[in-house]
């Protein structure tokens, strides 16, 4: 079945395991600017869509149209990666699952968890299934985000929605003794999972910083498609 094949080939399934993606509270994808945090987060969300779950993608960087475009591209990359797929079948599948994705675009100053709470409440009111995960892309972890993280934690507890965040690290900063970028170090107790993306030669290396028994595992990704390099 196409859905199953796509999930199995997803770099996220290999690196994190599908069943792990939604367990707990927070997950983080870290890297320097431009390495591929958003693309990897989109692949995480895509596995949920393929598992017939809803997802909510909140971006403080991208316009809503760009968010949707990223998902289209990520899906296409995954389909191309598994080899020949009947194009009509692939299109039909995307038409089926893409409506389960909602993209919301904010700026740093207008991002506010109350609006997200109102939206999530409406699912309960309408007796609809809640999104399995929420991606929050673009929070600036160089600033003090303690209160924002508390609010997000409250959302997680109220709606059982796992939250994946992007964290931008900087080249010149030293890592902590555990090998964490400083942005994660400050909040490491909150995060059950963390993936650190770094360019290595002409590939991207995904290092699992936190994830139970997968910790310290490394995977090589194609920078253009974020697919695993065999």
């Amino acid at each position: 079945m196409l859905k199953k094949d796509l999930i199995l080939k997803s770099p996220v399934e290999k690196a994190l395991g599908l069943e792990n993606i939604t367990k707990g509270q927070f997950g983080a994808v870290l890297s320097r600017a431009g390495v591929g945090k958003t693309s990897f987060l989109v692949q995480i969300a895509l596995t949920q869509l393929l598992a017939d779950q809803k997802i909510l993608h909140v971006s403080l960087d991208d316009h809503m149209d760009k968010i949707n475009l990223r998902y289209d591209e990520a899906y296409t990359n995954l389909v191309d990666y598994i080899g020949y797929v009947d194009p009509q079948k692939a299109v039909r599948l995307w038409d089926d699952i893409s409506p389960n994705k909602v993209g919301i675009s904010y700026t740093e100053s207008t991002f506010n968890t109350d609006k997200i709470r109102d939206y999530l409440k409406s699912f309960k009111k309408a007796d609809l299934a809640l999104p399995a995960i929420m991606v929050v892309d673009g929070l600036n972890f160089d600033e003090d985000l303690s209160s924002t993280l508390e609010e997000l934690k409250a959302l997680n507890e109220e709606f059982s929605i796992f939250i994946w965040l992007s964290m931008k690290s900087h080249r010149e900063e030293a890592l902590s003794k555990d090998g964490f970028p400083v942005q994660l170090e400050a909040h490491k107790d909150l995060f059950e999972k963390a993936v650190f993306l770094q360019p290595v030669e002409d590939k991207i290396e995904a290092l699992i910083l936190k994830d139970g028994d997968k910790t310290d595992q490394k995977y090589k990704l194609d920078p253009a498609t974020m697919m695993l390099v065999e």
Partner: protein, 695 residues
């Protein structure tokens, strides 16, 4: 009328609701001396803007019907059609774009590109109409014309180029800087009628120079002369720049952007100059027709007065003096008394009184030459008809018309209302091809159909005011469809042979889903079904598409392949094969997993940020799918797809959930299969209605 067509402009003014179109047109008419005072659209003096001639338009503060007017500016004849911005009246915009040569696209300097701007842009693309943009309301708090120009690029894919910069914004908006002449312009006098040229303020000079460089870079792509002048750093004349920008605009590769505030009387005159400088004349646009006498070959029409006439009827109005037909003449000249042929039905007609329109006032003229827009009295025709001189048989491509998506039953309150209602419906349906009416033979109800709740609301209101026909309205009904989801065979024999002449026909084949509404493929060989009966088979299949076997909704998306069959030498007939085909269709249909489809609407909500979450929630509660939400300044835009059946009364709910601050637009998107639970509800309702009728 000016005969030198280089000095004629036929333009439309299009935009999203409340961008200021009608106010802008009012200002244009004032400055070109057509009217002597300015009346605000929602003014305190109780008089609405001149362009909004219908009472309802003035009351609601929206433009409903397109009004045509003309004016003169700098020795040019400018014909303007003011068009509605609301999606429910898209047919008016489509009609106008079909006959205009250029468009002024108005955008609000705060809200920028909004949902209806996108619809209007799609329409402009369909008819390949060049446009210039006017960023209006620069006096509003939050005005940002540069951001709007960027949105034109990002959201509509235009190559937008700023041709002006503002001198002050919001309550400090004083004038504009023209980047072509590199002068500042202020607007003095009680109504800003005196345009005063001054030097650019020192503090804005650097920005102006940078913006001018960007503009020249873009414009130079359309002029070798300008490119050479830039490279060789020789003098760049105003004429050089204007010629380049004109070329870019007419070829639709560039959209020059102007700005100002119509309400505050700022920068309307430069916009008028831009219309003359950058929008095409009738001579710049190639118009084509089809030669019906020559295998429908495309022929180019020439804007010359001595060739046979060709004109397109694009709007009808039934007034107290009879039907008024608005026409655009593309070739030749229509003189009073000329004999013309309607190429749709071949009927001869005489061009009686010819008039030129100014909103609701008429000016009688002797002729309407090529390149101009006017109107004829007393001609019986339909919107979209082509009129030609008797010696040719051309037809222009007709306009793209959308199918209605919503219907409503109406019941007149008394006998008098019944008669008046019929008159009203007769007129409205002639004027507007997206407004339809019929009598439901089963219930006897009169049903009206249209493009949205507002569309029908306006006609019900007009019936009351203009025809004194008060009607009660029923619950709106959604235009469901039926279709099949898989291939299914049929093998059906229609046989009535009980002595005397009988009937016999056998059809064998299959039906399957397809993208088209209906497709018929004949693969019968060896004369199994005589050739003369094949078309009867097709007729029979087609007859079943009108009312689905299950729930009697129109059927769509079916391909029928006829592979085999049988006939009787005596008893086979056209009637027999039609019946056989109907039987075959029903047999196949039952096995083909039929489903019900419902219209899905694209719903775009614009709301203050604090209500974003609850607006998304409202969509969620209506089986809607949110495609995304974007914050833009103090407002959020929520885009979604929602079934039409869930949208009734939405405006009230949205208003109360957002303190009246949010607004939404809705337009047809596509048909989609209904969920199982909804299908069951629909089936049950139909069954109940049938049972009630049979009692």
């Amino acid at each position: 009328m000016i005969r030198d067509l280089k000095r004629v402009r036929n333009i439309g003014i299009s935009a999203h609701i409340d961008s200021g179109k009608t106010t802008l047109t009012e200002r244009i008419l004032f400055y070109t001396d057509k009217i002597h005072q300015i009346n605000e659209v929602r003014g305190k003096d109780g008089v609405g803007a001149v362009m909004d001639s219908m009472e309802l338009e003035r009351e609601r503060g929206i433009t409903i019907a397109s009004a045509a007017t003309h004016c003169e500016w700098n020795n040019h004849d400018v014909n303007i059609i003011d068009t509605p911005g609301h999606v429910d009246f898209t047919v008016e915009v489509e009609r106008s774009l079909r006959v205009l040569d250029g468009v002024v696209l108005i955008l609000c300097s705060v809200s920028g590109v909004q949902s209806q701007s996108i619809t209007v842009d799609q329409q402009m693309r369909r008819y390949e109409v060049p446009c210039i943009a006017f960023v209006n309301k620069c006096d509003r708090s939050g005005a940002n014309p540069v951001k709007v120009s960027t949105q034109l690029k990002e959201k509509l894919g235009h190559n937008s180029v700023m041709m002006q910069l503002p001198i002050g914004l919001e309550d400090k908006h004083e004038g504009i800087i023209d980047l072509v002449t590199m002068k500042a312009y202020y607007f003095e006098g009680d109504n800003g009628e005196n345009m005063v040229e001054k030097e650019i303020p020192q503090d804005l000079l650097e920005d102006a120079q940078n913006a001018r460089e960007e503009m020249l870079d873009e414009a130079s792509l359309f002029s070798e002369e300008l490119t050479d002048a830039l490279l060789e750093e020789i003098e760049i004349t105003t004429e050089m720049i204007m010629a380049a920008v004109r070329t870019g605009t007419i070829s639709r590769q560039m959209t020059p952007v102007f700005l100002g505030s119509a309400y505050k009387n700022k920068a309307v005159q430069p916009l008028l100059n831009a219309v003359l400088n950058y929008l095409p004349s009738p001579l710049d646009i190639e118009n084509v027709a089809i030669d019906m006498d020559n295998n429908e070959e495309t022929v180019a029409l020439e804007s010359v007065f001595d060739k046979p006439s060709v004109a397109l009827a694009f709007k009808l109005e039934d007034g107290q003096y009879g039907q008024l037909t608005y026409i655009r003449v593309y070739q030749g000249c229509i003189n009073k008394g000329d004999t013309l042929i309607n190429s749709r039905d071949g009927k001869k007609l005489k061009a009686g009184r010819l008039i030129r329109m100014h909103s609701s006032q008429m000016e009688e003229v002797d002729a309407i030459p090529a390149g101009h827009i006017g109107a004829m009295f007393g001609v019986d025709c339909a919107s979209g008809d082509t009129f030609v001189s008797p010696q040719i048989n051309y037809s222009m491509i007709s306009m793209h018309i959308m199918e209605p998506v919503i219907s409503l039953s109406i019941v007149p309150k008394d006998n008098k209302a019944q008669i008046n209602m019929s008159k009203a419906l007769n007129r409205f349906t002639k004027e507007d091809p997206t407004f339809k009416t019929y009598v439901d033979h089963e219930t006897g109800d009169t049903i009206i159909q249209g493009m949205g709740e507002l569309h029908l609301e306006v006609y019900v209101e007009r019936m009351k005011r203009e025809y004194q026909a008060e009607v009660e309205t029923g619950k709106p009904r959604v235009a469901y469809r039926e279709t099949i989801t898989r291939k299914a065979p049929f093998s059906y024999t229609h046989k009535k042979q009980t002595g005397g002449s009988g009937q016999f026909g056998r059809v064998i084949g299959f039906i399957e889903p397809c993208e088209e509404e209906f497709e018929f493929v004949n693969k019968v060989t060896g004369g199994k079904i005589p050739t003369q009966f094949i078309s009867s088979c097709e007729k029979g299949f087609l007859a079943c598409m009108a009312k689905g076997p299950n729930l009697e909704f129109p059927v769509t998306g079916i391909k029928v392949t006829l592979q085999d069959g049988g006939y009787h030498a005596v008893d086979s007939s056209e009637m027999a094969f039609q019946s056989a085909a109907r039987g075959g269709f029903l047999e196949g249909y039952a096995k083909a997993k039929p489903v019900i489809m419902e219209p899905i609407m694209k719903v775009v909500i614009e709301t203050p940020n604090e209500f974003q979450g609850s607006c998304m929630g409202l969509i969620n509660q209506r089986r809607g799918i949110i495609q995304g939400s974007q914050e833009e300044g103090v407002m959020s835009v929520v885009e979604s797809q929602v079934p039409l059946s869930e949208m009734f009364g939405f405006s009230t709910v949205l208003r109360s959930g957002t303190q009246g601050k949010a607004q939404f637009t809705m337009e047809f998107s596509s048909y989609k299969q209904v969920p199982m639970s909804v299908a069951e509800e629909i089936s049950k309702k139909k069954a109940d209605e049938k049972a009630a009728k049979n009692k």
